[in-house]
Structure formats: C-alpha cells, structure tokens
C-alpha cells in the first residue's frame, strides 16, 4: 500500500522539481546537447540503471525529454548484476549505469562499452528499520543477533557485496534471515514490517519516506560504492546517450544526485 502511494507521488514530485528549477535545468540540458551533437535529439533512448538510481534518473530523464520534445527516454531499473547479464546476453541499450565497478567490469570485459566508464557518484550503506524501530536496532553489530529478523542483499548484487565488505571490516558474522535479489526488495521487507532491519543504501532510506527509519553506522564510510556510467558500443541512439551521460555529469545532475543523498564521486 505504502509503496503504491509512493509511486503515485513520484511523478508529482518530478513535475514540481521541474517547475522549480526548470530554467536552469533545461538550459543545462540544451547546452550539453548542442555542445556534443549540434542538432536536436529524437527517437528513443534506453538507459539500463541500478535500482538505487530509480528516483534521480527518472527525474533527469524527464528533464532531457522536456529539453528535446522529439526524444523518448526508457529506463530499465534492476539489480546491476541482472542488468549486466542482460547486456552480455545482447539486450539493446544505449547507456549502462552500475552500482559498483565489478558489474561494470562484466560489461567492459565483454567489450560492450563505447568509451571508458566514468565514476559519476557514490553511495554508502545504511541500516533501514521499520517505523518505531521495533527490534531496537542501534548499529551494525545487531546484524550478528540471531534473534532479530534481518535482511541483506544477496552477495551477487552490489549492495550485497558492499554488505559483505562492511561485515568483514567490522569483524561481524552476520545472521541474516534472507538474502534479497536487489536492494529495493530488501527495503520492501522493511516497509512491510516483516524484518527488524535491512542493510540498504542511504539513498534508499531517504527515498522510502516515513514508514522507514535510517540508522547510520560509522563502518559504512569504509566501503563507498562507486557508480560508473558509460555509453554502450552498440547504442542505437548514441547522440542521445552521450547527452544523457553529460546531463548526469553536469552540475544539474550532481545536484539531483546530492539531493537524493548520493555522494560526490
């Protein structure tokens, strides 16, 4: 229920955001477009992006479409490793943004990139607990408590790899009850109140709203996930792809990322 409402609110927030900073944002988008390509962009742009980028990239896509009425932007948001698999299996896409370097390497090892990937932002982990913190979770050490019901991401996806790293750094043997297939699935279990805590990104806690509370922990700072982005070699719409990457790396893009709680690269 909460999730549905959040999704309904999102486009409204996006529109408000656009009106609020409409002038500068479209100026930036138009500026980058003309500097990189010259002509106006059209057709469809397909962006494969990590699930944690859902909110920010959705807004940036709207900005790009507003600046180029002939352009349509489609997103495929999922766990970075699922996206990397889809790309190596031949899924057609213009841009790939991964939540860690490892999954970008899967794509570059297959020679699918048009240029070297660039790190455009970073993210740290945070503990998400249901409203009121029923399990009384105060820090990372609570993840070693077998009596609590705990969710982490599976080690195969970036948030799970980061979780394994912070547990190793802190010398904690985690006792999770479930290893979720991506970070949003882990967050959903918190929103449903089915787990006492989940280890997700700080940005997910911020995006989740009032039914989720965040418990930051100092160990998170040792494992910052770097997010690389690149245009793909087989991009059907390479011009628009470059314009989108430019927008993400522009001041407007950095501002949108910072607003959502992402770190500077």
């Amino acid at each position: 229920m909460r999730r549905t409402r959040a999704l309904l609110v999102l486009p409204v927030v996006a529109t408000v955001g656009l009106t609020a900073c409409g002038g500068s944002a479209s100026d930036t988008a138009a500026g980058t477009a003309s500097s990189s390509a010259g002509g106006d962009l059209s057709g469809t742009l397909t962006v494969f992006a990590a699930a944690s980028l859902t909110g920010v990239f959705g807004n940036l896509g709207d900005q790009l479409m507003a600046a180029h009425p002939g352009l349509g932007v489609r997103f495929n948001f999922a766990g970075s490793s699922a996206l990397a698999t889809q790309l190596t299996q031949g899924a057609p896409a213009d841009v790939f943004a991964s939540a860690n370097e490892e999954q970008m390497t899967v794509v570059t090892d297959a020679g699918l990139q048009a240029g070297d990937p660039a790190v455009f932002t970073g993210n740290v982990l945070e503990i998400a607990v249901p409203e009121g913190n029923p399990g009384g979770v105060t820090g990372l050490a609570d993840f070693g408590d077998a009596d609590l019901t705990l969710a982490v991401c599976a080690a195969d996806v970036p948030c799970g790899a980061a979780a394994a790293a912070v547990f190793a750094d802190a010398g904690i043997t985690a006792q999770p009850d479930t290893e979720e297939e991506d970070v949003k699935a882990a967050l959903t279990k918190v929103q449903l109140g089915e787990v006492d805590a989940a280890l997700v990104y700080a940005t997910d806690v911020r995006a989740a709203g009032s039914d989720v509370e965040g418990v930051p922990f100092p160990e998170a700072e040792q494992e910052v996930n770097d997010y690389p982005i690149c245009v793909l070699e087989a991009a059907p719409n390479a011009e628009a792809a470059q314009a989108f990457v430019d927008l993400v790396e522009s001041d407007a893009g950095r501002l949108a990322l910072a607003d959502a709680g992402f770190r500077a690269p």
Binding site: G79, S81, A82, A84, T85, T88, Q89, T149, A151, A154, D156, V157, P176, D177, T178, E179, E180, E181, K189, L192, G193, E194, V195
Partner: protein, 263 residues
Amino acid sequence: MPLPLLLPALLAVAFLVLPLLGLVVRAPWSTIGPQLAQPEVGQALRLSLLSATLATGVSLVLGVPLAWVLARSRIRGRSVLRALVTVPLVLPPVVGGVALFLVIGRTGILGRPLYEHLGVTVPFTTTAVVIAETFVAMPFLVISVEGALRAADARFEDAAATLGADRWTTFRRVTLPLVAPGIAAGAVLCWARALGEFGATITFAGNFPGTTQTMPLAVYLALQRDPEAAIVLSLVLLAVSLATLLLLRDRWLGRGPGQGVPA
C-alpha cells in the same frame, strides 16, 4: 494429416522443445562435475525436493476432500467455491506471495497475533516455502481430482450404499481406489508446480541458502553472477522433472485412459 493442422503442430513442438535443447547444447559439459559438486547445489536440490514433497502431501490431505466436496456434495454456491479456490492457478505467484505476507506475515491479519502471543514468525522459514508452494500448487491437484471424480462411474458408489456402506466407508473403499490414477496425476502436476515455484517463494519466504533457497531461486541468483552455473542448475531441474515424468508415467499414469488429467 491435414496441412493446416500439421504445420502449426510442428511449430508448437519446435517452440516447446528447442529452448530445452538449447540448455543441453550450451551446457558447460567440461566443468559440469565441479559445478555440481558445490555444496550449495546439493543443499538447494534437497530443499526443493523436500519442500515440494511436503507441499504435495499437504495438498493431498486437504485437496482431495475439497475435490470431493466440489464434485459430489450438493452445497449451495459450489461453482463460486470452485472459482475461488482455483484463483491461485491464474494469479501471478508474486501476488500470491504478497497476499501471504498480508495474512500470515509478522504484521498480517493472522500473523500478528501469532507473533505477539506465541512469538512465532512464518516468513523466511522452510515452513514459509512449503506454504507458498502449497498455495500455488494445490489447485492443480484439486482440479485434477475433481475431474477424475466427475468421470468416475457414480453407480459403484450407489451400489456400495445399497449394500449398507456409509458415505465415509464408500469414499475410502470405493471412490478412492476408483480415482487413484487421477489423484496420482494430480499429485504429479502439483509436485512439479511446487518444484518450479519461484515468485511466491522469493517474495514470502525470502532467499537464504539451506533454509529457503530452492533450486529456481538458486538458478535466478546464479544467472546474475555466473550464467554457466545457472545453466548447470537448470539442467539438474530439467533432469529431475523428466525423470519424475517418465517414472510416474510407467507406474500410474499409463493406466485407464480418460482417468488422467481432465481436459
């Protein structure tokens, strides 16, 4: 054979069989030994077989009586009841998983009192896997057995009644043996569906090796890390499914045409 039937039929065969052939052709046969020897594979396979078998057991105990009620009793609203209990058959399993959360999750309608008074939580346990699989698979058994009951000759039951048997005795001694092949067919369908269950399981039971990570979940997660491992795991599931089908076909399903799966 008329061509307008033959050609689409051949296409259908190709469509259904080629993907399976693809699995076999693309399998990394040279590394399959070490891949299979990994402890997670055996763990996931054991859990899958165990939970599918338990789910089939629960479905038999509850589903056969339900099929009897649907086929033989004269209660009002029977067709509504039938429609209701077969909804999980057409419902996307993920939706089933969410629905299970809302009822027997920790904050669910039944789950909350269970948790607050007894400290029992269902999600993220092997019990949750069995529940999710039973929810999705039991309708297959109910539909099969109901079909078999309808096809069975009710005069045998009448004869038993005239000889003085009560309805329970008639059910045990006459009806059950009569529809045994239908029950077997339904149980196989149910077991196979439970074995392949993914959506409701990953939603409601989560994913943890040894407790809730069944083979389909292992395949899905392996695909994100190592596609070759996913192919190997898929082959194992394919082999198990084929073996079950062949084994049971010889033992039970070959007997008595018209008493198998209803059309």
